[in-house]
């Protein structure tokens, strides 16, 4: 074992390498590793957050769907009710219309009867006059006997 100046040389090498490592190698590597660690932690946290949000959204969508379902059921019930109502109203209307038509027809018939009676009356009076003419074998002066004929017509009526 001979200790000599080589030792000093090695000390210089060693100090030099320590200096390089301390100044230029370790800090950037440490920073890169720490940054990556932070990034990974952030990523995991974000994933966790996303998962929670998704869960919440699923819950919310469930609520919305059940709301929509109950709404729809309500609407169906209302529509049914409304349909029944409309049907009822239509029935009522049809009834009234039918009654009105029957009424009108009855009026018409009445009118027709009166007209026919009137016709019959006038015809009858003419017939009577003609009959009388034949009986009397004489011309009846219409103008003279108009008053008489009218009275006769009234009598038949």
């Amino acid at each position: 074992m001979d200790i000599n100046a080589t030792l000093l040389g090695h000390v210089i090498w060693f100090a030099f390498f320590i200096w390089i490592t301390m100044k230029y190698i370790w800090p950037p590597l440490q920073k890169a590793m720490q940054d990556r660690q932070a990034e990974i932690a952030d990523g995991l946290a974000a994933a966790e957050k996303g998962r929670k949000e998704l869960e919440q959204a699923a819950k919310q969508s469930e609520v919305v769907i059940s709301d929509a379902k109950s709404n729809a059921a309500e609407i169906v019930v209302q529509a049914e009710k409304r349909g029944v109502e409309v049907l009822e109203q239509a029935k009522e209307k049809a009834q009234l219309e039918a009654e009105r038509i029957v009424e009108a027809a009855k009026g018409d018939i009445e009118q027709e009867i009166t007209r026919a009676k009137e016709e019959l009356r006038s015809q009858l009076s003419m017939l009577a006059v003609a009959g009388a003419e034949k009986i009397l074998r004489k011309e009846v002066d219409h103008a003279v006997h108009k008053k008489l004929l009218q009275d006769l017509e009234k009598e038949f009526g």
């Binding site: 000599n4 080589t6 090695h10 090498w13 390089i20 301390m22 950037p28 590597l29 440490q30």
Partner: protein, 257 residues
């Protein structure tokens, strides 16, 4: 292949040749060129590469080289976080430097012992010791630097007075302060020595076994392979142990007893 029977070397000469450093200078001012340049080269390559990765590091999905570097660095950082609880931006880089550098220098052991030394002999370099961690100069350089940083850490966290008080009163209380001080001095001196000698001893022994296996000539292969496989464990373990003990010493320095 430096075959002792075939060449003009005896086995002892062969072993000695492999254990001799390439050096310049005299006495204390000798420089082991081989370990100095191999360790420097490995460090420059490794930390240059890590520097490039670190400058381009992004917080996106890491790919290829960045992934590998981050894996190593976070392995070390986990150990630091487990052991060292005070706040410091020196301890993790220090541990990373030690682990990566010592691991690579240890791994030089896996290059067959004659490759580099014979290769350098061809270009006129007589001696070449390829594993820097088998040079006590290097292991002591590491452990003494760690020791110095440890003292700095002590003073930074406890102050000079706090350190002195701790040295004088722990563990037996103030009335036995000479004993406390003696214990403390022995404890602290033992730290760098044990760090350096542990690494040196393990790697030196491993290298020695490789050299002895190489003496078998062509028949070294079936022996060198299992030893190399086993040695991978020692290489990694010693780098890890050096790093771990450094972290422990730092945390002992930063925390009061």
């Amino acid at each position: 292949m430096a075959n002792p029977e075939g060449g003009n070397q005896t086995s002892a000469e062969y072993i000695n040749h492999h254990l001799t450093n390439l050096k310049v200078g005299e006495g204390f001012w000798t420089l082991h060129l081989d370990t100095f340049f191999v360790s420097g080269f490995l460090g420059l390559v490794a930390f240059g590469l890590m520097l490039r990765v670190a400058q381009k590091a992004s917080n996106g999905v890491p790919t290829g080289m960045q992934n590998f570097v981050e894996m190593v660095v976070s392995l070390v950082n986990d150990q630091v976080k487990d052991t060292f609880h005070a706040k410091s931006n020196l301890v993790t880089p220090l541990a990373i430097t030690i682990f990566v550098w010592v691991f690579l220098m240890n791994a030089m052991d896996l290059i067959p012992v004659d490759f580099l030394s014979q290769g350098f002999q061809l270009i006129g370099v007589d001696y070449f010791k390829q594993v820097p961690t088998t040079d006590p100069n290097l292991t002591f350089a590491l452990s003494l630097t760690v020791f110095a940083i440890m003292i700095g850490m002590n003073i930074k966290h406890k102050g000079v007075l706090g350190l002195m008080k701790e040295s004088l009163t722990v563990p037996f209380g103030k009335w036995l302060f000479p004993v406390n001080l003696l214990f403390r001095i022995i404890e602290d001196i033992a730290k760098p020595i044990s760090l350096a000698l542990r690494l040196f001893g393990n790697l030196y022994a491993g290298e020695m076994v490789f050299i002895l296996i190489a003496l078998f000539g062509v028949w070294q292969l079936p022996l060198a392979l299992p030893w190399a496989l086993f040695h991978i464990l020692i290489i990694t373990l010693q780098a890890f142990v050096f790093m771990m003990l450094t972290i422990v010493y730092m945390s002992m320095a930063a925390e009061s007893h």
